[in-house]
């Protein structure tokens, strides 16, 4: 996947991507099979190499009825630390052919209150991608191990 927002826009907004978040795929499929309704929520996500794992706005966890699977300790800029709920989710990339993550842990942390983004894509997802940030040309590219872009 390659996109060219232009150098100024990339500088201002950072590398972001449209994603869909839902409850983890096995639960989604099993629930749908018996008539339960789950939402796939479209969200704009910032690719953040400074985030060790993927973080969502807490409201997303409630809207998508994500299952909580743990509590995780998070430290943010300025040393603010806390214990936040971790959930199992599915993340897909509707505007590209990047492979979806059917079951991935996400942590709901209210640091995501910026107007542009409701999710930070962390290094847990980046470990599956080759990610190129071309500042001079205002381009960003993602390639997966399997060759998907």
């Amino acid at each position: 996947m390659k996109w060219r927002p232009n150098p100024s826009k990339l500088l201002l907004e950072g590398p972001h991507i449209e994603i869909k978040i839902s409850t983890a795929r096995p639960e989604f499929d099993e629930g749908r099979a018996i008539g339960l309704e789950y939402r796939e929520l479209p969200v704009r996500a910032l690719i953040d190499t400074g985030a060790s794992l993927t973080v969502i706005n807490p409201q997303i966890a409630a809207t998508c009825k994500l299952l909580q699977t743990d509590w995780n300790k998070i430290t943010t800029v300025g040393g603010k630390a806390g214990r936040y709920p971790a959930y199992a989710a599915a993340i897909s990339f509707p505007e590209s052919d990047l492979p979806a993550f059917d079951v991935i842990r996400v942590v709901a942390c209210p640091i995501i209150e910026q107007p542009f983004f409701s999710c930070l894509i962390g290094r847990d997802i980046l470990r599956k991608w080759f990610f190129t940030y071309d500042g001079p040309n205002g381009e960003v590219e993602i390639i997966t191990h399997g060759g998907g872009r």
Partner: protein
């Protein structure tokens, strides 16, 4: 405390009780706990989730916790 703040407390108590022995027998693996029941151990989060879902059923939280001596602190910058 709200229900959200107390989520998974029973499972976390079971985890803490067994952690010393699991650090020897299953270091780094994900343990699946539903209520007070220990469902099993998995090397991957995804397979642990499937086992937990199968045991707990739809719509019920369950614990998937990696067995480490020290709880990791994740940095968000």
């Amino acid at each position: 405390m709200s229900a959200e703040e107390t989520a998974l407390q029973e499972e976390l108590r079971v985890f803490e009780q067994h952690k010393p022995e699991w650090l020897r027998s299953h270091p780094g693996e994900f343990v699946v706990i539903v209520g007070s029941r220990v469902i099993g151990f998995h090397s991957e989060y995804e397979s642990a989730f499937k086992a937990g879902l199968s045991a707990a059923g739809l719509g019920r939280n369950f614990l998937l916790k990696q067995v480490w001596a020290e709880e990791p602190v994740y940095l968000i910058y």
